[in-house]
Amino acid sequence: MSGLRPWQELSPGGTIRPTDAEKPKTGSWRTGIKPLADLSKCTNCLLCWLYCPDSAILLEDTTFVGFDDYFCKGCEVCAAVCPVGAIEMVPEETETPAGWVMRSDESGS
């Protein structure tokens, strides 16, 4: 287990701060499918944002703007919870047409 920190360097009880949490690139876990949103259907209820287990739903202020390529692991939860059927899982290689959002951020920040 190289690269892991010794007990002395861990905060009591394992409290994590955003700054000292490592950022595993869960986006690399996707197995061939990714979510895409049809914005014309999106009512911005943000259930996808509430449910996403990897905080991969991107917002600007309180408006849905897309998915975070770095974190989205393709779990399909967003598509399952979307009450208006605006999110669909598509093959990874699907091109992103206009009105469908997919954002990639290699830095993960």
Binding site: S40, K41, T43, L47, F64, V84
Partner: protein
């Protein structure tokens, strides 16, 4: 429902949906996901016939500003206070709420609306600002939801509006035909005051029953809005109609709401399967009837009443007899004692696509009752409509251009039950807004 629970209903005409306290309203408002925004419109707003911006008014309540919430409501629905009580939110906004998809209860939009609108009236918030008079005059016939909404909208835009109604109080069916446990009279008086504040003149007990009377109004104004609704109950002659204890639904409810509650006796029956039949059945329970039976000639599947209304009636102890056609009322000494019923079976589909009920020969029976209320529907005001030149009807309904609310007589516009055959108050408001736009275009265009 147990006899005990049923007994507790007797005399209880309090609101089925209690008002929210300030704290409850805040909690409820905070639950709203605030759908809507830059993409698709929030489903609740889409579902609202009056286009109320639901997420915004709820956000304003959540932010602790019920006054602002009320103004958001009034912007689209000047009768927001009444509609909050009588809207079938279960099948409109609340049915479309995203929470339903989460196995959660829908946000209580109706009660939140009531909270904000009532707060506004209690705190002297005027629903709309009055624009400067624009010199145009419009008459509104009928002070029901369609007429009041039309009058208020026009007045707020600077029109000089006079409303005529044959009854002693405003509100139309809200006042006279909606069950008292939904809305008694409040907040109609406050809404009437608010309309008066916008300059609307309301002439009550002003029945227009001649071409001459109508011509006088026509002379005064540039357009006339018909918010006349439907008239009396559908005429269905049944042997024994003149017995004491036989009622038609509108006089029955009106008597109740006017403070002269009908004596229903121990057993009551209601004929019909619509929302009015459900209301009357539940009123009969509250008036002390121990057994209330709804007689409907088709089955539950064909009932026009909202399913939740049927369910609530069932829960309160109303008994339903399907495929049962009342054929005669029997009595002793001029007083109703029983209704003769003809059981039916469903045959081939009729013109309406519903399977036609056919009598089962020899199966007829007598159901002992003390009161029977016929709630089969209303009939069009054909007599009044015949006074207007060039007005075309379809199935007894006023024919309009759905884009403008304009009738086939260009000076006349219409909305509400008179054009849709009997629907909800909020649909009347929605239709009135269409007509207001139509009237504006009509009178402004004429001037130009």
């Amino acid at each position: 429902m147990s006899a005990f629970a049923q007994e507790t209903l007797v005399g209880d005409f309090s609101d089925l949906k209690s008002p929210l306290s300030e704290e409850e309203a805040l909690v409820q408002a905070d639950l709203c996901l605030q759908c809507g925004g830059v993409y698709a419109t929030a489903p609740c707003t889409v579902a609202c016939p009056a286009d109320v911006d639901v997420p915004t008014f709820i956000a304003q309540i959540a932010a602790g500003d019920p006054g602002a919430a009320a103004l958001t409501l009034f912007e689209q629905n000047i009768l927001a206070a009444s509609c909050a009580r009588v809207c079938p939110v279960e099948v409109l906004c609340q049915a479309s709420c995203v929470m339903n998809s989460q196995d959660e209860a829908a946000i209580e939009i109706g009660r939140l609306q009531r909270f904000a609108a009532d707060w506004a009236y209690a705190n002297g918030v005027a629903p709309r600002k009055k624009a400067a008079a624009n010199g145009h005059k419009v008459a509104v016939i009928g002070a029901g939801p369609a007429g009041l909404a039309c009058a208020g909208e026009l007045a707020a835009r600077g029109y000089t509006v006079t409303v005529y109604d044959e009854r002693a109080e405003v509100g139309g069916l809200i006042r006279y035909a909606i069950a008292p446990f939904r809305q008694h009279t409040e907040p109609l008086p406050a809404e009437a005051v608010a309309l008066a504040g916008l300059g609307v003149e309301i002439k009550l007990e002003a029945k227009i029953d001649s071409k001459k009377a109508l011509a006088e109004i026509e002379k005064e104004v540039e357009a006339i809005f018909l918010g006349i609704g439907y008239g009396e109950d559908v005429l269905v002659k049944t042997p024994g109609d003149d017995l004491e204890g036989v009622w038609e639904s509108l006089p029955f409810i009106e008597a109740l709401k006017d403070g002269n509650p009908p004596q229903v006796g121990r057993r009551a029956a209601v004929i019909g399967g619509g929302n009015t039949a459900m209301d009357v059945a539940r009123e009969a329970l509250r008036l002390g009837a121990e057994e209330v039976t709804v007689l409907y000639r088709r089955t539950q599947a064909e009932m026009p009443a909202f399913y939740h209304e049927y369910e609530e009636a069932l829960e309160e102890g109303v008994v339903f007899k399907w495929l049962t056609l009342p054929v005669a009322f029997k009595g002793e000494n001029g007083r109703l004692t029983a209704v003769e019923c003809q059981p039916m079976k469903l045959g081939e589909p009729d013109d309406s696509g519903r399977r036609r009920p056919e009598p089962i020969e020899g199966a007829d029976f007598d159901l002992p009752v003390d009161t029977i209320v016929k709630a089969i529907g209303q009939r069009p005001r054909e007599e009044f409509l015949s006074l207007i030149d060039g007005l075309e009807l379809e199935w007894g309904r006023i024919k309009i251009n759905p884009e403008t609310g304009q009738t086939t007589n260009p000076k006349y516009f219409a909305a509400g039950d008179a054009i849709n055959g009997g629907a909800t108050a909020v649909q009347a408001v929605g239709g009135a807004k269409v007509a207001v736009a139509g009237i504006e275009a009509f009178v402004q265009g004429e001037k130009r």
